[in-house]
């Protein structure tokens, strides 16, 4: 059995979630081939080897620097054919999930997104998916001979094997007709830690009273190398950018640690964080619903507790 793993990159760096996909593929057994598209330094490509890929196909064409769903799907199909891969694996993401879906339709593969665990293959090939926005799971049998899996972020453990990958140039045929959408401009904060990928997230709600108070939250986040998030009203009021909004209608996160500060814990917010490994809640109201979903809680005024917590973390380093 051969698995092909799509390595998604941002600014020439392979995403952590893609390396998780490599680890997942290794867990399946069989051989693991990875593929990366666009300009990426070879040192980065080699990192896939450390996590278990034996071969990395690199389509370095500059035209692939900017992702277009149609184009990426067509390149992956060519790689599947060349490698005769049985399973295509990638991280669930704004890019990866639709690319995976298109590939599945084109090659007649069974497809599952939001997959959280290795399949049960004792009879058939049954994957576990997260559904109802983290409130439940489903077990789905993928019956077609070819399969496509989009893996939920932070669902597979990132573990190095210390292996090496051979990097092989890959020159797919690119069809100009696929480049039908044109990117006019991009707005991006590239220095911050990506929220969906982060190991630790520090999130603030309406309890912080205003955007001018985010400094203490950012100081805490910096100490923890964490990404910052917020509740929906906070982004609705424009205190924080929309791409930081966590929850049912925002980003779904699954970090090791989620720290919620001045957030009440409405069910729609919880839906975006309930896959976190550990949840810490800081709220001045002891009856805030968020405490019911928390592992650790502090009842107190955020304006006192947060600076103290930052200081304690710095002192413990």
């Amino acid at each position: 059995m051969t698995s092909l793993v799509f390595l998604e990159s941002a600014d020439g760096k392979i995403k952590k979630s893609s390396l998780e996909a490599v680890c997942y593929a290794r867990g399946l057994g069989g051989s693991v081939v990875a593929i990366a598209l666009g300009s990426i330094p070879s040192s980065e490509l080699e990192s896939a080897g450390k996590y278990g890929a034996t071969k990395v196909l690199h389509a370095a064409d500059k035209k692939l620097d900017h992702p277009v769903i149609q184009v990426f799907a067509s390149v992956l199909i060519q790689a599947i054919q060349q490698e005769n891969a049985d399973i295509l694996i990638m991280a669930n993401s704004a890019l990866g999930t639709p690319v995976a879906a298109k590939v599945a339709v084109k090659i007649g593969a069974s497809f599952a997104s939001n997959v959280v665990d290795l399949p049960n293959t004792s009879s058939g090939f049954i994957v576990k998916r997260s559904i109802y926005t983290g409130k439940a799971f489903s077990y789905v049998e993928l019956t077609a001979p070819k399969k496509v899996i989009a893996l939920k972020k932070n669902a597979a453990e990132l573990k190095e094997t210390g292996g090496n990958a051979t990097i092989i140039a890959f020159s797919p045929t690119l069809n100009d007709a696929d480049f039908t959408t044109k990117v006019i401009s991009t707005e991006k904060a590239s220095t911050e830690i990506s929220l969906p990928e982060a190991n630790i997230v520090v999130s603030g709600g309406r309890g912080l009273k205003g955007p001018e108070n985010w400094g203490m939250l950012e100081a805490l986040a910096k100490t923890l190398h964490a990404a910052t998030g917020c509740s929906k009203p906070v982004s609705d009021m424009g205190w924080r950018p929309h791409h930081e909004h966590v929850g049912q209608t925002g980003i779904k996160v699954a970090p090791q640690l989620y720290i919620a500060i001045g957030i009440s814990g409405a069910i729609q917010h919880l839906a975006g964080v309930n896959s976190s490994k550990c949840i810490v809640v800081i709220n001045k109201d002891p009856d805030a619903p968020f405490f019911k979903a928390a592992d650790y809680g502090i009842v107190g005024d955020a304006f006192e507790v947060v600076p103290k917590l930052t200081a304690a973390l710095q002192a413990s380093k």
Partner: protein, 243 residues
């Protein structure tokens, strides 16, 4: 211009999720169903485009008869007519195939970025693939200029401004439009708007739903005094082992 809006019929965001029949069936007892929140944004934008450009808006749902009140609500919000594909929406490939059957001839096909029951986030990409037209998601802003569509698409950590031409498929999310609430006149007129029920196209299944499962219950929260944040740091390091 002809716009098709795909709406899912899903449990209200505050619903508790339960299963019956040995964890093989969703327990709809006491659950209120709504238009998927993202689909509601798609619908709201379609109605705005109808008002500003004079488009026609058709809604489509793949679902059994129980989804009709949800479809009528979309008509009350301002859609002109509706199609219900009479089948249980078991997986995204099935749903996409049914939608693609009826989506030919539309200039713009709007959906939500994802459904909140199965959270596939893929029906838009599949329909785009089946029709051979581009699909974009999640789209936060969408304006039509002639045959061109100007969009803002969310990417990790920011957004991207994109130009494409019709026809296309877009998976929508806020702040593309404000959710619309039906008014009395809308509700009255929705009763007589055409709702066509069609039978599904048969296809080979590529997946079988085996069973559902609820997550393990959360262990009770450990409370720490606000005067002793050092203890939290210790617990995060030694007990939870997350920092």
């Amino acid at each position: 211009m002809k716009i098709l809006v795909c709406i899912s019929h899903v449990p209200d965001t505050t619903s508790r999720i339960n299963f019956i029949d040995n964890n093989t069936k969703f327990d709809s007892n006491g659950v209120q169903f709504i238009i998927g929140p993202y689909d509601d944004y798609a619908l709201a934008r379609a109605i705005e485009l109808k008002e500003s450009l004079g488009a026609s808006v058709t809604v489509i749902n793949v679902g059994l008869a129980e989804t009709e009140p949800t479809i009528r609500k979309a008509l009350a919000i301002g859609a002109d007519d509706a199609i219900r594909v009479n089948a249980e929406p078991l997986d995204s490939f099935f749903v996409a195939t049914q939608i693609a059957e009826h989506a030919k001839g539309f200039d713009l096909i709007l959906m939500g970025r994802e459904s909140i029951d199965f959270n596939g986030g893929v029906v838009h990409a599949m329909v785009g693939e089946m029709l051979g037209i581009p699909s974009l998601s999640p789209v936060m802003k969408l304006d039509i200029e002639g045959t061109h569509v100007k969009m803002a698409q969310e990417i990790e950590g920011g957004k991207e401004y994109v130009d494409a031409s019709l026809p296309l498929v877009a998976g929508c999310q806020e702040p593309i439009a404000e959710w619309k609430i039906p008014n009395m006149r809308g509700i009255m007129s929705a009763r007589t708007k055409p709702l066509k029920v069609v039978e599904p196209k048969s296809l080979d299944k590529l997946q079988i739903l085996k069973k559902f499962e609820l997550p393990a219950p959360k262990v009770a929260v450990k409370m720490i005094s606000a005067d002793n944040v050092g203890e939290l740091v210790t617990l995060l390091k030694t007990e939870a082992k997350v920092i």
